[in-house]
Symmetry: D3
């Protein structure tokens, strides 16, 4: 698996916007969207960004901690935006931002944010595959890229701690 | 149900982007996404645009004819964009454009387009509710608005024909 | 792909009846069945008729315009009847008729009708496969067969217009 | 809950035909339809016949023993026919017959049969509701009605045994 | 397919506990869990016990009669326990016990019990595969094993009767 | 909302075991279970433990970071164990442990662990409701309870950081 040069890609080329309407089966008897359904949508949005950036299938490696700030109700829309924020040799970090929207009033409430990581997989060998480096462009992308180092250190620390 | 003045809204305020990953249960044994699943996603995207514009719940009234130009495969993404193109007193026309995307290569294929109509419903009375007029802004929006008259005439003609 | 002679088949040999109970996840917060779910069921019923007639897998090529005449409610049944109305060399037209039924009172309401087209696929080559000619038997089948020519012309016209 | 006279109904007025296409999520990794999915479809078909006959919501009370004679494969159709065979004061027996169909070859294989019982429920009081007597018409319906007595005795025997 | 010696296994090595929360789509409009959904969960729990015991994929062969003693409501939990009770050469009997639980009050109601049978399948040949003999340990397991002979005789009798 | 005395409960009274079979729609085209589906099951298992302990409906407040250590494949079982580890006045921490199991070989692989928090809700007022204190019994439960203080401090720190 020799190293090859892969052209850097800016986050906007793989950015994702998803809109999901919350149906009855996504909610508990109080009519609040189940946390696990939100996490499922976050995973799908992040996976699309990861695969687009990597040019290969990607599998979820981790979710950083997630706080659910406000409930989402049946009949509301769930708006997700995903963007690649950092890349390693075969792994990627994807940031996802989630808003609940009352479609009738237009009111949007910030619901949660998540940092997820994925590993790119070579579909032939089934082994991790090299990913193109991410090229942050905006100030916010540059800041998130800078801060990714400390998030990565925390992940390595907690993983060594767990095993 | 006296007429009230409702401020016109441009299409961009209710425009929708949806990204769906095609899962095994969305496809036939050849691995092609079922046409009915595509239509279901079109209906969801259009409904979000309609409800946002109307500020009320909306129910699907019609789909104009739909052609499936290329197949979509399991593991690909289905990208939908919906926009309000015309409004009547209590009804709206929503245009939806669908692309299939091979997320790994970035190749996007135009799959289908659809013109759908919705009726806004007053949630208290259950009767049709007045909708704000749409205010087309771009040249394409103005053209689609102009052409909506003939699409509406065709719908009225075929409905009188059917009954 | 040389032409072979295939024995004609009457529509009754591939006719389909489907009964679906509307569950909460099929409906919007007003309790009305989502239009896209109705279209999904129409596609499934039509596909069964098409595959039965063709003796090969079939993929959805188009839906003619569809009007939703009355809402269907959660807890009601959705009754679909599908029948092959016309055949080309490798394509078929299938007519689907949908009624909503209040199972308790027996009241049935005509909800919608749809003309769909499918293309038969050779499962080995993945290319379009020849289909047996349809042999209309009843007066209604003969009328629908006659009228299919003009529906086909409209489809060809709108497709050339779109591209 | 005084007894009222309800007009007898023949089984054909509530008979049901259901056609379901077996999708990947309905099957195990061998590609065979899961037994529990077949039972779910049987329950839905029987419930429609029961509600139509009773004119009230109905809840499943029992399934007699069920044997799965042949496997059903992903991509095949599952054809269910349900018919009311016997009625008590507030309960009904519904017979369901299931065939697997290879839609391409037209081959149909008898998969299973089931006798189910339902109790009609008054939607206001939530208590069991009287059902119209069934009026068997064909020889087969008369035979099944006759034999229902012994099936009912077996059910009563096993229920007293279980408690 | 010569007979080989397979080491006997006690039921506890393959016993299963499943907990499912009843969601809106699992229920009828009265809010009662559909009987067919209960049977689907029973089939899944039993299949896990069967596959664990057999060390091979297993397909459902039969369900003995099932009585639904009490309704389960949306928002309640459905608790299933499955255990292998008897083994033939290539078939297994699995007992499943189902309770409804009101998670807030802790009240548990006995809902149903089921005896199911499975056939082990050799994944290479697709033919029935020999299963290890079950080794009942507790008094209840020994009793169920003893009584399995008469349940098996009943199944053979009804199958010969049906064909 | 005056403080009342609620009898402490040990974790074993609300502990949960869930067994889920991974179906095709739970997986990506490589046949690996989607991370978001694992998180959905974790949320369901944790919610059952939380509701049982609280005696009230509970909504997900947060997930601590989650690492996916090994992939889970279609056709495998996913075994989840959930236990309440700490309680505040109206919130609970629930620990969930996930294993993948190859049901045929019996091989179990540790897949992930998660610490989740929930808030109990009074179903009448919709406001947070007091929860009974958890009473750790085993050495492991006591250790997890001790360590919960630092996990809670981290959550408070990151939440103040985010806002």
């Amino acid at each position: 698996m020799s190293e090859q040069w892969l052209a850097p890609k800016p986050p906007r080329l793989s950015a994702v916007e998803m809109t999901e309407v919350v149906l009855p089966n996504d909610a508990n008897p109080l009519g609040n969207m189940l946390g696990g359904r939100v996490l499922h949508f976050i995973d799908m949005a992040a996976a699309v960004a990861a695969i687009r950036h990597a040019g290969n299938p990607c599998v979820t490696a981790s979710f950083d901690s997630v706080d659910f700030l406000t409930p989402i109700h049946v009949g509301e829309a769930c708006i997700l935006k995903a963007k690649v924020t950092w890349t390693g040799r075969t792994s990627l970090e994807v940031y996802v931002d989630v808003h609940a929207e009352n479609m009738r009033t237009g009111e949007r409430r910030h619901t949660t944010t998540a940092f997820t990581t994925f590993v790119a997989i070579d579909p032939v060998t089934g082994k991790p595959a090299q990913v193109p480096p991410v090229l942050p462009e905006t100030d916010e992308e540059k800041r998130m890229f800078q801060e990714a180092i400390s998030r990565r250190d925390e992940r390595l620390a907690r993983r060594s701690h767990k095993q």
